[in-house]
């Protein structure tokens, strides 16, 4: 299954899972921003998505864009089974490691991964 997922990749997979199939790249960025307050650059997001597509975690299709994007093409991403599996594994790992640390992790806002 290859190397473990990076933090940005985990973040994007969470967002993709929340949004469901055929999620546009922009929607993923907005989902991350709404949920965590992080404003990711398109470059970072598409690089990470491309990497995950290479690894077979997600797939994408190119579609025609609407008027709001001046007819420019749009790329839509879908979570694959391998992606779901990898995210589950990562999530389990985080849960296991953070178990019982609730007070310590929320006591100092400076430590929140914002």
């Amino acid at each position: 299954m290859g190397r473990a997922l990076g933090e940005l990749e985990v973040t994007l997979l969470y967002a993709l899972m929340a949004l469901g199939d055929d999620a546009p790249g922009l929607a993923l960025r907005q989902e991350v921003r709404v949920r965590s307050g992080r404003d990711l650059s398109p470059g970072a997001v598409y690089t990470a998505l491309g990497r995950m597509e290479d690894r077979g975690l997600i797939e994408s299709v190119l579609a025609e864009g609407g008027d709001s994007r001046s007819g420019r093409p749009i790329r839509l991403y879908t979570l694959l089974a391998a992606g779901t599996e990898a995210l589950t594994e990562a999530h389990r790992h985080i849960r296991a490691m953070s178990h019982g640390l609730g007070d310590a992790l929320t006591a100092d806002p400076g430590r929140q991964g914002v």
């Binding site: 922009l26 650059s41 398109p42 970072a44 998505l49 491309g50 597509e53 190119l62």
Partner: protein, 878 residues
Amino acid sequence: MIRRPTSLDGLLRLFLGEGAEIVLGDLDEEWPGRVAEFGEGRARRWYLRTMLSTMGTLGVQGRGMMGSRDRSSGAGWVHAFRYETRALVRTPVWSALAVGTLATGMVFATVVFSMAEAMRTDVVPFPDADRLFVIRESNGQVGAVADPTLRRLQERAEVYQAVEAWSGPIDQNLSRPDADPTVVGVARVTSGLVPLLGYGVVAGRQLVIEDEDPGRERTALISHAFWTRSFGSSPDAIGATVELNGLGYTVAGVLEEGARLPQRRQADGADLWIPVQRTADLALDPGLRYQVVAKARPAVDRADVLAAASQTMEELRRELDQWRTDPSWHMEVDPLPDLLQGDGVQAMAALGAATALLLLLGAANLVALTLARLQARSREFVVHTALGAPPSIALRRLLAQNAIVAALAAMAALGVAVWLVEVVRTANPTWIPGAAYARLGVSETVATVLAAIALSLGVAVLTSRLHPHVQHAASLLRSRGPDPKWKALGRSLVLVETALVVTLAVGAGLVVRSLSELQSIDVARAMENRMVARINLNSSTYGDSESVRGFTDQVLARMKGVPGVTAVAASTSPPFSSAGWNFVVVEGRDPSEGQLPSTEIEEVTPDYFSVLDAPVVSGRSLDRSDFGDGSEKVVVVNEALADLFDGDALDRSLNFTGGPTLRVVGVVRNSPAGSLSEAPGPRLYLADMDDAFPWTVRTRWFIVRLSDDAPSAPAMEALHTAVAEADPAIPLHPPRRLLDLRGDLLEEARFRSIMFAVLGFMALLLGAAGIYGVVSHTLGSARRETGIRLALGATRARVFSRTVAAEAAAVAAGVALGLLAAWQLGHLLAGFLFGVSPADPTVYAVTTLGVGLVAAAAIVIPAYRSATADPVASLRGE
């Protein structure tokens, strides 16, 4: 609604190709929300930040936008650079040509511009140099300034901040207690000259105006070098006494290191700077003559300086009796930097022009080479595009390729430039003032490297736009033949390259021809095995030229028969150098008509011409019977002076206004004097200097000719002994090889020839490569057309001749244009050419032939290949 900024969209497309559209679509969608949330200003900044970070991450990593297929198509910069590096290694010839083209231009640009900068800053190291002017009184010949004029100029405080003067340096014999007499260079200076030039003293004090008072103790400043040499840098030097020709001077101060007089020739530096001695009385010593340098007040220009100086001359004419009554007397004013840089400015202009041509050639060549490469690789790009790479892949590849080429060229060029500057500094040619200080300028180097990178990237963008294959990669498969626009561009490239090559090659040819002319007069051989040494006779013992000649004859007689010495002679100036001059009245020319011609004058002993192997063209040289009282006054003249006579100069007469009549008995070949930058002027050799000048010249140069393998040391020891025996009080200046003394003449010519020859050769090489590139590109893109013609029954000969004729027409036009340009630019070179006219027909003919042959080869080879190709293969290839 506020529209989204789009300034960086194009750049993003360049970086990401089609993938940029997805990001731009996202931004379009996101923009209204960002404006509503942040306001316009912050939203714009967000746009900029987002674009830059996206280019940074996606551009470098080259992934994502077009899905995983991107990687197989090779998008992304890192990949592009790796790929192009391998591609360049696989085609070493092309790579070497491209790198060489750029590097050549860079080397010459860096070196020439660095030297120009060194010339500007180091030749004129004085503060406020742009306000320094040299003022002269002149009656047609460049003159010095007389004392009354200097005084009056110094009073014009509203125009000049300071007016200072100097004379010399001249050689004088210096004696100190407990030391052998030596020869030193002595300059006389006004007290304010040193501060005007911006120099300080490292010990003691500066000169003050009281030092100019003849009633006071005589003082002197000494140079740093003299201080080190004669006093071991001891502070005791201050207050010490030195004796110059019998007069004692007290050392007042030591000049800072490197202090020099503001004059062109620095070979004879001044060891002692002694104050001029002037009385306050304007009833003057007309014999006092100075070089004058004035510092103008700010905002006073050359015209103001000249007007003030001319006014001064008029005032003096009214005030003084018999002052400058000849109306030809006038004032001359020149900016000091112009005089110091001299014809070096011309030399740099010629080199600069040649460099500019080479750069142009390099640029044209790079276009041709890049296009040829694009042609060769168009298939590869088409395949990439068909596999899903964006059409911009070719642009990206070309950018990467040319960036690598530029980087390699910069490295190569820096290495060569460092070496070349070292060569220039070592050769120190006199025609580049300041060559001794030449160094690679940092700003010049950086500017050149940046320009080269910009040029090669610009060429990549330009060619990718010009080339139809890139714009419509897919349509290539349907294309019928070369774009007519491209054909026209190709022809103009051939034309421009040929013209540039011809221009440079003619220039190089002229300079090289000039060197061979110079060598044909055997200056080099005349300098071999010759030693020179100088003496100065003091005026107290040697009051007239009779006694000077007596001394000289004694030394010459003692030198005869010294083993290894084959001949020896003496003269008043060193060989191949300029000498004293005077106006001359030539028989058959009306002296009242215009300016009198002037001639350089040398007193020589009978063996002078044979010692120097100077060929007597007609008549005879001077001999024993020409010397001494009662003998007829005769002279030998050089060809330049003989030309002033109407017809044959032999047995005609000349005189120096008022002097005795002198009969011409012989004509000798011209030989270069002083500098090769000027054609040799009239020169006259006589047996007795008194016939030309009303004063006694007390400097003599001994020229000793040694047999081929004789060591010089014993002969020079003998010369020392001979001089000491003739007069023990007279020091002999250290003897030198004539080659060391005037070898710079040859060095200069050689260096210049090599520099221009290299330039010409590089131009020819680059031009050939460029033409070859263009022609093979044109023919390559016409392969289908050629194939169809051949298939339809055209003969190979016809296809071949048609191709060649079209390109040859462009070459012919280029040659014509180049000859015209060379003829125009030839004047820039006129000053360097010795014995060759800037319009020399041989050089033009040979160059045309040479360039024609090279261009023919560059055309015929690809044309032959194209015509002999298998038509079926050609068509299938398309």
